[in-house]
């Protein structure tokens, strides 16, 4: 018996027993699986209002998804096994490798830590209030996006 041969109602009940990160990894398996997860778990996925990406170190990315009541629904720490295989993400014209390189490279030079690289910037879309913020401290790079 195949997983996708379950009736839709059974699949819905199965997905309800899965945490969001498990659904996320499951959605990478096939387009049909991704479509089903999006269709059946729309409410839970729409409930995520804020996603916090923290580039903790050279090879670790922390992703924290928060709902309206600040309840975490995604809590992931990604440590790539082989960095070369990661497809860079586009973040304001910078890819992930560039961000990590910038953070590590600059932070090794102590003159830059408390001067140029300590900032908190926000971008807010006028018509619906969705936005993003970048917070750079001496130890962390936080990139947060939120929906309206």
């Amino acid at each position: 018996m195949k997983f996708l041969r379950f009736p839709t109602l059974v699949l819905e009940k199965i997905f309800k027993n899965f945490a969001v990160p498990e659904l996320l990894f499951l959605s990478f398996c096939s387009k049909r699986m991704r479509f089903l997860i999006q269709l059946l778990e729309k409410c839970r996925l729409k409930d995520i209002k804020t996603i916090n990406y923290s580039f903790v170190s050279d090879d670790r990315v922390m992703i924290l998804g928060l709902s309206n009541n600040n309840k975490p629904s995604i809590d992931l720490v990604l440590t790539p096994v082989e960095r070369k295989k990661i497809v860079p993400m586009g973040l304001f014209g910078m890819d992930r490798d560039m961000i990590c390189w910038t953070m590590v490279g600059r932070f090794q030079d102590k003159r830059w830590i408390h001067k140029s690289f300590k900032s908190r910037d926000y971008l807010i879309r006028d018509f619906d209030g969705a936005g993003a913020s970048i917070h750079i401290s001496s130890t962390h790079f936080n990139f947060v996006v939120w929906s309206a």
Binding site: M1, F6, K13, V20
Partner: protein
């Protein structure tokens, strides 16, 4: 979670007979059927809990005898457990199981899927949720390719999500290849 088992033995009046899809009869204590919402409602509707009512065998057309035996084993183990309450498990990725449960569900995925189907048909929420969590634990920390193998999912994605490298379709994951291992015996000839 564990419960002390009372020493009372079930009386014959408190039993019902269920018949699996392959015609095998099973005698079930009414106390066991409380865990199955489907059977509990049926017993309530037909008043099978009364001793003066004639109890006809209950046909379970979607469940084979092998599945039924496995389910009865589950029901007997959880006989004196408190009623299952669905907790807010959506946001928890950490979970532990009893040793008995781990041994009970240490079965091939194909059998687990069939058991899940049976648990859904009989509406046994504790069994259904436990199988789902076991399935979730089997895919946690695995790559998309490994999850495809575990859940027997045929990919329709041309390139890998992470690497962009084209994925080779696995011919062994076809529908025919999965019918080799099965909990259920072959259906009776019509």
């Amino acid at each position: 979670m564990s419960c002390e088992e009372p020493t009372t033995s079930p009386t014959p009046e408190n039993n019902i007979t269920v018949v699996s899809s392959d015609g095998k009869e099973f005698l079930l204590d009414l106390k066991l059927t409380e865990q199955s919402e489907t059977l509990a409602r049926l017993i309530s509707n037909f008043e099978y809990d009364r001793t003066d009512v004639k109890k006809d065998p209950v046909p379970l057309g979607n469940i084979t005898s092998a599945q039924m035996q496995k389910i009865i084993e589950w029901l007997q183990h959880h006989r004196y457990y408190p009623k299952w309450e669905q907790n807010d498990i959506h946001y928890s990725t950490s979970f532990t199981f009893e040793t008995w449960v781990e041994e009970y569900l240490n079965i091939p995925n194909n059998e687990m899927f069939e058991l899940l189907n049976a648990a859904n048909y009989l509406n046994i929420p504790r069994l259904f949720s436990t199988i789902c969590r076991i399935m979730a634990s089997r895919i946690t920390g695995k790559s998309a390719e490994q999850i495809r193998t575990v859940l027997n999912i045929k990919t329709d994605v041309k390139n890998d999500v992470y690497t962009g490298i084209p994925i080779q379709e696995d011919s062994s994951s076809s529908e025919d290849g999965m019918s080799e291992i099965s909990l259920s015996p072959s259906p009776p000839p019509i």
